[in-house]
Symmetry: C2
Subunit: 275 residues, 2 copies
């Protein structure tokens, strides 16, 4: 999917919501456990309930991988079920070099390889350019590079300043922008403080940001929209547990929470989106 199709979808749905599919057998309503594939049955219920309100789905790969081969089968069925026009993110945070990175790209981008056909994958930058470039060779596919995350450990390295007083996350963004353009690369930006949101938008005016950390992790959705929305919206805001585990009747509770976020997002699109 390219950025024009993504922005068109955001506009038509009045939403920049991404629903995270962190599906965990110990957290889903017990009624799904009697299905032959409880993970897929739950995901199907979530997708049916939320597809009107969301522009992206983000399966968290760890949750599928932890179930062995059958987890990958549930992931495959989930991907086949997600409507074609909705953007998909493999939240895999892979990061290796050369032919290994290319294998990871094939895993998530090339249906002839593993069966999966994601639009994008999250990638870690530690190993540098040769760990990112192999993903950029796939047309209309996206790398979503870890830049500034919202967890306590983000202070360990991401915030550490270099000898020219540039924090690592900024160095990552500036250098990565020389590897690929805003049509093939997004950044993971944890929604925390408004000054950081302003700063990262200044560094990358045209890039999409995948923003976790709104809601459960404490960020303000209005701050994200106010300080980081670009002329092409440039935002995908993720919510996982706040939507998928909002109640015992998934069809009702997931729809209610997704709709609530979509309505708030419509408001902020009206207020802050200067096309």
């Amino acid at each position: 999917m390219n950025s024009i199709e993504l922005v068109r979808q955001i506009e038509s749905k009045g939403s920049f919501l991404c629903v995270g599919l962190d599906t965990d057998l110990t957290l889903i309503p017990k009624s799904f456990l009697k299905e032959s594939d409880p993970v897929f049955a739950f995901n199907k219920a979530v997708i049916d309930a939320t597809e009107k309100y969301t522009v992206a789905y983000k399966p968290n790969i760890a949750f599928y991988e932890a179930m062995g081969p059958k987890g990958w089968e549930s992931l495959q069925k989930t991907m086949d079920y997600i409507p074609q026009e909705i953007f998909t993110i493999a939240d895999a945070k892979r990061g290796d070099i050369g032919n290994t990175a290319y294998k990871y790209a094939q895993t998530f981008f090339d249906p002839a390889s593993s069966g999966l056909n994601f639009d994008s994958i999250t990638v870690a930058p530690y190993m540098g350019h040769d760990s990112v470039e192999p993903f950029l060779t796939f047309e209309d596919k996206w790398v979503i590079l870890l830049a500034l995350t919202s967890n306590p450990g983000s202070h360990d390295f991401q915030m550490s300043k270099s000898e020219d007083y540039i924090p690592l996350y900024e160095r990552v963004m500036r250098l990565a922008m020389t590897w690929g353009n805003a049509e093939q690369m997004m950044f993971v930006i944890g929604a925390t403080r408004y000054d950081f949101l302003q700063k990262v938008r200044e560094i990358a005016p045209d890039h999409f940001f995948l923003v976790p950390g709104v809601g459960a992790q404490g960020g303000s959705l209005e701050d994200v929209a106010k300080y980081a929305m670009s002329s092409r919206v440039g935002l995908l805001v993720n919510s996982s547990r706040g939507i998928i585990y909002a109640g015992h009747d998934t069809a009702v509770s997931a729809a209610r929470e997704a709709k609530k976020m979509q309505e708030e997002m419509t408001m902020y699109l009206d207020k802050y989106w200067i096309k």
Copy 2:
């Protein structure tokens, strides 16, 4: 496996060789393709040929993942076939936080979860302490943290100096050493220049290093032994393609190349290991 068992194995085999199982259907001899599970059949041949000479096996997870659910089944069969006393490394370079990191740990460490029971996993440090700690809660399991790699991209961030003139890889090592001890953490150290090898051994005198980049990637095995061997050896030197794809008759060529490395390693253990 704990470090005493690992060092005992190194001593008895006169080897600190790790064989990388980067098994690729396009590279294995054609004779394996007629087997029902060519990946496992090839790995079995490699293991049979090399187990006398090696102390560790390192499946490169990308290569299995790229084949979808059946790749994970080949990986499972390979793990079941590796002799119990040989150390196993999931070269997965995972890196995510909190409950997601815990799921990745379950995937590779908890046989009740995915079926797999690795001794260790490679992990990326970019997200900080909360992306590493969940792995450290598993007894007799190891995190092998990316520190200084041998690829060109290692210069992008790992070598960049902070405002107190400490390069990032050193900051990663020093901080990580406060999260876990030398009985549960190793570092990935690319075999490049002798001054770096001396430096990292000075930073972490007691830790094991997993060293890729010898042979095909250009490092000298003698330099690694001379400058980075510790009182507990502290080295696992990996070779993948140089061993597994050394010839058309895998049983013969893999044994020959592994034996060659083991003999060289025996010599360096005699010469440089000061117990």
